[in-house]
């Protein structure tokens, strides 16, 4: 693993009486795709939300060597990391292009860069170019997921947190989405991927962590985890 672009130490997330994440450590190296696996309710999404400041957390989080705990989400994204949230959460009443425009806000006044990124997104996801004027809420699930990813990429992040991109999509569409994730890595973006689809995730990821009940119960390279029973055990709850 190279020098970590993201490192998380003793991260805890608590919602009232519920302790969603119990002091986990994890690191993501520059240029890696790291998968964070686990069953529903294991604390994966809470971990991602805590990293981008959308969930209250304890512990240390560093991005590119600098601590980022306590920094507001809107300021964090300007530093170069962002989250594509679970369930896509595109702005359904806005057009496709308006959604993408919003994604470019962290670039500030760099209009040229914003235009360039918009063209890049349209090249990456041609369907979005076709539908640029369409109200995003009327897109299909797969198209909405592409839009959600493209919207995150508009700000040229160096680290992308991707939460359950395959959720609720038809298998054929899931394949396409994972292909596109694999392509992203080629463009030099580091990705922390949260998924329930273990097999597909381990195919694209370099390494993976397995979470259960708010703790990390296993970690290793994708090959190690694919060939062991650790992941299954985590899912079945006897890790």
């Amino acid at each position: 693993m190279q020098a970590p672009i993201l490192s998380v130490e003793k991260l805890g997330v608590r919602y009232g009486a519920v302790e969603a994440v119990r002091g986990i450590d994890l690191a993501v190296g520059q240029g890696e795709i790291v998968a964070l696996l686990g069953a529903n309710g294991a604390g994966k999404s809470s971990t991602l939300n805590a990293i981008v400041g959308l969930a209250p957390s304890t512990g240390q989080i560093s991005f590119e060597g600098a601590p980022i705990s306590g920094i507001a989400t809107e300021a964090l994204v300007r530093k170069g990391l962002t989250l594509t949230p679970e369930g896509r959460r595109i702005f359904g009443s806005l057009t496709v292009e308006e959604n993408l425009t919003l994604g470019g806000i962290p670039l500030g006044k760099a209009q040229e860069k914003r235009r360039e990124n918009l063209e890049r997104m349209f090249a990456l996801f041609p369907i979005l170019a076709e539908r640029r004027g369409q109200i995003a809420g009327t897109l299909s699930g797969g198209q909405q997921q592409m839009l959600a990813i493209a919207r995150s990429l508009m700000m040229s992040p160096r680290l992308l947190l991707l939460d359950e991109p395959s959720l609720g999509l038809a298998p054929r569409i899931v394949d396409t989405i994972f292909e596109q994730v694999a392509e992203l890595r080629a463009s030099g973006i580091t990705i922390l991927l949260v998924e329930q689809n273990v097999a597909m995730s381990l195919e694209v990821a370099d390494r993976a962590y397995v979470m259960a009940s708010g703790e990390i119960v296993a970690q290793g390279t994708a090959e190690e985890l694919s060939s062991s029973h650790l992941v299954e055990q985590a899912y079945l709850g006897h890790a």
């Binding site: 981008v52 959308l54 507001a72 989400t73 809107e74 994204v77 300007r78 962002t82 989250l83 949230p85 959460r89 702005f91 359904g92 009443s93 806005l94 308006e98 959604n99 425009t101 919003l102 994604g103 806000i105 962290p106 809420g137 919207r151 995150s152 700000m155």
Partner: protein, 297 residues
């Protein structure tokens, strides 16, 4: 037929003012999930600004924009001082805060200016009218319709064509994700208050131009109408607020126009009855907000 046309013009003029008011409430509600009951006091502030500007001898064409600017400033101050500290509070906390702000402002007006109504000097032209065929259209009504149209067009342009406008629409739909886009909560909320202040200011100028006086409690009736209009249109929906405002204007005018004399004393109750009937048919309002029930800031 002329009677009908004349009443239609009356309804458009009144509905337009209601639309501006409802829009001011809706824009804050859509982003913060809060009904700002101090919206009426922004109108009162506008009225006092017009009054003082008049006393200082400023002509109306200067006094009116100045008064709107005062309303914008007051709205932004209101947000900064009163609402920002409770932004993360429960909806009930924010609602009570807005009531408190309204009462505090009313008390300030009473103690610092006067409890009794103060005359506002207006150009005589505002009390005149233009005859078009058999129709008589008040200058006031022309002003009201023109300002409403200009503001609706400008607001539409702002919300569709500027990044801040798009960001505000996004924030209204899903504030957390908007923050993920780097949208600054303070900028968006402050911007929303500025716009709502401008809308209250414009409506305030039109309101005062009609009544030629301002008193500390002036804001109560308009904020009530705005509240009814925005519920009717669909709470938090901007298009809905405009539709609700015009619908309320039409209901009120046409009840007065066509209800038999014996029924006239009940027209206000009947108007509310019609609003309730419409809501029974369309519980979320005429044009519901896109993100009904989603959590706000």
């Amino acid at each position: 037929m002329d009677f009908f046309l004349q009443q239609t013009i009356n309804a458009v003029s009144l509905g337009g003012t209601y639309a501006l008011l409802a829009l001011g409430l809706a824009i804050i509600f859509s982003i913060m999930g809060m009904i700002n009951f101090a919206h009426g006091e922004l109108m009162t502030t506008t009225g006092y600004a017009l009054m003082f500007a008049g006393l200082a001898g400023l002509p109306f064409v200067i006094a009116a924009p100045l008064a709107v600017a005062v309303a914008i400033g007051t709205a932004m101050l209101m947000e900064r001082i009163a609402f920002r500290p409770v932004r993360k509070g429960s909806p009930a906390t924010m609602l009570v805060t807005s009531f408190a702000v309204a009462v505090i402002l009313q008390t300030l007006f009473q103690n610092l200016i006067a409890t009794r109504s103060q005359p506002v000097i207006l150009p005589d032209a505002l009390a005149q009218s233009v005859a078009i065929g058999d129709l008589t259209i008040g200058v006031n009504q022309i002003l009201s319709i023109t300002i409403t149209v200009i503001i609706l067009v400008a607001l539409n342009w702002f919300l569709k064509r500027t990044t801040l406008g798009i960001a505000m629409r996004a924030a209204a739909e899903d504030f957390s994700v908007a923050r993920l886009m780097g949208v600054r909560a303070n900028a968006v909320i402050s911007g929303a208050f500025a716009i709502s202040g401008a809308l209250a200011g414009a409506a305030g100028v039109l309101w005062v131009a009609q009544r030629a006086s301002v008193d500390p409690l002036m804001g109560f009736v308009p904020v009530l109408k705005a509240f009814i209009a925005s519920i009717l249109g669909g709470l938090g929906s901007l298009t809905g607020a405009v539709a609700g405002g015009f619908a309320l204007g039409f209901i009120e005018i046409f009840l007065t126009a066509y209800l038999p004399e014996d029924w006239q004393p009940f027209k206000e109750a009947l108007a509310l009855g019609i609003v309730i009937l419409l809501l029974l048919v369309r519980p979320n309002g005429l044009i519901p907000a896109f993100n009904i029930g989603r959590e706000k800031v």
